[in-house]
């Protein structure tokens, strides 16, 4: 009969339509995201996870804190070896080399392209993109948290000793410290004497190389080259400032911490990360002024580089998980999420879209982020894309040991830098030898 035939045809058509619908949009997927923060940063990440889960009908992300950056990386290694790795993990900036060579990674750009959420690498701010991109401009991980280096100064203390402008050159910086010192201030400037600030950022802003092969971006044949040039000049200046009591080490302050020593007014100037502004504001320092990192007078100022972390997708998950991961990454990429994260943590917004939203509402924008973004926009050369070198965590410890010995008078600063460079190169040689036999990273899951 007509109606029953028609009903059968309708039923057949409907079932065909249902069967043809893409499986991805119907499949619910759970996956794990490992992140590496505590305190207010963890709270911001947890609320992003909760919002994503609430808004999504089909996906559920389980967000687990894993401790510090080092702990997160080694747990990822252990989990991967056991076949129990999470789908998404936050790895710090200097772990990028290890991740790229691990053979464990499903490149983010491939994933997003395949799942229908293509992300253009040029969306990202220049300094951030250049840090994480490969030689051919691909982003294999998604940048997550970023900060750069700026100058903090206590305006009231500076004007009290006759310094009217925020120092923009190291010469002016030294003059300001001398003025403060002459007026009896016990802490003209404070520093924690770490290599991210004193080597990586200073060399970036001065456009000077830290290592050959574009600071390691071009391959494992890179070797350190910082011992001559601007770094030597800077560190000799630092040694002089240390011995004259102008640049006080953070452990010698009452607060025992660089950011706190500036935030509670103990020290007048501090060269610190943009993220420190959150702490300065929380401590209620009203006279804080933020400016660009100083350079040497008469030299060209380049863009600074970044520090922070990025998100890596790992292989070995079931196929239904990856679409959900892609959706989560697209969610995090959204300017609103970036800005919420930036406001709560003091990290920089990552994409041009987010930056534009920020400039529309200037009063909601902290000084440090504005200055940091400006600093990243400055011109580039081959050497300010940050470093991509093996065993960087160990190298940083070596640099610190050598510099401490030099400051303690056990060797000259020049010798210390030469030693650090030689040690660093041995590490790089070994890193290269280790990965010579490794199969190259493939592009799929």
């Amino acid at each position: 009969m007509k109606s029953s035939a028609g009903a059968r045809i309708l039923a057949w058509v409907l079932s065909a339509l249902v069967a043809a619908a893409p499986a991805a949009t119907c499949a619910a997927a759970d996956f794990d995201f490992w992140y590496a923060h505590g305190g207010i940063y963890a709270q911001a990440i947890e609320s992003m996870c909760a919002n994503f889960n609430a808004a999504s009908l089909q996906d559920h992300v389980h967000c687990f804190p894993q401790g510090t950056y080092e702990q997160t990386l080694r747990k990822t290694v252990a989990a991967y070896r056991a076949g129990r790795q999470p789908a998404l993990v936050e790895i710090y900036d200097i772990g990028s080399a290890d991740m790229l060579l691990s053979g464990a990674v499903y490149p983010v750009d491939t994933l997003m392209q395949a799942m229908g959420h293509p992300i253009d690498a040029s969306d990202y701010l220049k300094g951030i993109r250049r840090f994480y991109a490969t030689e051919n401009g691909r982003l294999l991980s998604q940048p997550f948290s970023a900060s750069t280096l700026v100058l903090y100064a206590n305006r009231q203390k500076l004007t009290a000793v006759g310094v009217d402008h925020l120092p923009q050159t190291w010469e002016a910086f030294e003059a300001a410290m001398e003025a403060l010192h002459a007026h009896g201030k016990s802490c003209p400037a404070v520093s924690d004497y770490t290599p991210w600030k004193m080597l990586e950022q200073i060399n970036a802003v001065q456009g000077a190389p830290i290592a050959s092969a574009n600071n390691g971006h071009e391959g494992l044949q890179a070797r350190y080259e910082f011992a001559d040039g601007v770094h030597r000049r800077f560190m000799n200046d630092v040694a002089r400032w240390y011995s004259r009591g102008l640049l006080v080490p953070a452990i010698m302050t009452r607060a025992n911490d660089q950011t706190l020593a500036f935030a509670d007014g103990e020290c007048a100037m501090s060269v610190d990360a943009t993220g420190a502004y959150a702490i300065v504001k929380k401590a209620g320092l009203v006279d804080a002024e933020v400016g660009l990192l100083p350079v040497y007078a008469g030299t060209k100022r380049y863009g600074t580089t970044i520090g922070g972390s990025s998100l890596w997708v790992l292989k070995g998950q079931s196929a239904s998980v990856y679409p959900a991961v892609a959706r989560f990454l697209a969610y995090l990429h959204d300017p609103r999420q970036q800005l919420m994260f930036a406001r709560r943590t003091g990290y920089l917004p990552l994409t041009h879209q987010a930056e534009e939203v920020l400039t529309i509402a200037p009063d909601a924008e902290p000084d440090a982020i504005r200055v940091g973004l400006a600093s990243l926009e400055l011109p580039d050369n081959d050497y300010n894309a940050g470093i991509r070198l093996g065993f960087t965590s160990l190298f940083r410890l070596i640099w610190q040991d050598e510099v401490q010995r030099a400051l303690g008078g056990k060797e000259t600063m020049d010798a210390a830098l030469e030693n650090a460079q030689a040690h660093g190169n041995r590490l790089l040689e070994r890193f290269q030898a280790t990965y010579m036999a490794a199969p190259q990273a493939e592009a799929g899951p």
Binding site: L397, D401, E402, Q404, R430, Y435
Partner: protein, 295 residues
């Protein structure tokens, strides 16, 4: 033990010993084997490569100045830490034995430090040694810039040696007290009648009879200085300043867990194992030989 006192059978001793052996195989032999394997290869942390390099890792460490720096630091730390803990414990034990009446109270109290974890001691001493808020900061008002343990390598070594000795003294003290008690009172009485004072008696009678304990404690303390000092170093100085307190155990931890250098830290582990083994070997055979000579 006479064979008539022993039981027959194979299955029961096997069953009784198996749990312990299984645990030891899993958490001792297997990791040691792994470390040995890794020390002979260049290993990618994620497991996607491993290249056999024979003794390459060892020769690299042995030609690395930072290895020798860590070795020197470990040797200094061990030498001073062990001597200090043994000398002070021996001194206190001798004092307590001389003053039997009130000795009981002192014996009871002097053991309490054993309950304090290295990390807790580290936290307390870190604050106590702080140049800005600790009592030693007063030294800086007399001689500005004098007490800077976080910038001065010698002072930071002093701090960790003191902390380490403090944790070892209770154990040594107990052993010495028991050993001194075991010396027959007649020997000491006879020597006193002959006119020997307490110092003479100590040197001539008590000290020689303590030789086994001295050897034993030296070995135990030495092994502890290689290994159990980690908590103190990690909470107080993190190997600094300038690597002045970067003992081998700390370097192994840093290389392996922070640098993800499985090959290098395994080679170091193997070398540290050899050191520990050598220390035990010396104690065992030197002591055994002396015991056979003396007894």
């Amino acid at each position: 033990m006479k064979s008539s006192a022993r039981f027959h059978g194979h299955w029961i001793p096997l069953a009784l010993g198996l749990p312990q052996l299984a645990l030891i195989t899993l958490f001792f032999y297997w990791p040691t084997l792994k470390a040995f394997w890794w020390s002979l290869h260049l290993v990618c942390p994620f497991g996607n490569c491993s290249t056999f390099v024979g003794l390459g890792n060892y020769t690299r460490e042995l030609t690395d100045s930072s290895f020798y720096a860590a070795l020197r630091t470990t040797a200094l730390f061990a030498a001073f830490g062990v001597s200090l803990s043994i000398v002070v414990a021996l001194f206190l034990a001798a004092m307590v034995e001389l003053h039997r009446r009130t000795g009981g109270l002192f014996r009871y109290l002097l053991i309490w430090p054993y309950a304090v974890a290295g990390s807790v001691l580290g936290v307390i001493l870190k604050v106590a040694a702080s140049p800005s808020i600790g009592p030693l900061g007063y030294l800086n008002t007399l001689w500005p810039g004098f007490w800077q343990p976080y910038l001065n390598g010698t002072q930071s070594m002093l701090m960790v040696v003191f902390a380490f000795a403090w944790t070892q003294i209770p154990f040594n003290f107990i052993v010495f007290v028991a050993a001194l008690r075991a010396i027959p009172a007649e020997y000491l009485a006879a020597a006193a009648i002959d006119g020997a004072g307490p110092v003479r008696r100590f040197i001539d009678i008590q000290l020689p009879m303590l030789k086994p304990q001295l050897f034993f404690l030296a070995t135990i303390n030495l092994i502890e200085s290689f290994t159990n000092s980690f908590a103190i170093v990690d909470t107080m100085t993190q190997g600094g300043p300038g690597g002045a307190t970067n003992i081998l155990a700390y370097k192994i931890y840093t290389d392996g867990f922070i640098g993800l250098d499985l090959s290098g830290s395994s080679a170091l582990s193997m070398m540290l194992m050899l050191l520990v083994f050598a220390a035990c070997f010396v104690q065992f055979f030197v002591f055994e030989r002396r015991a056979r000579q003396d007894g």
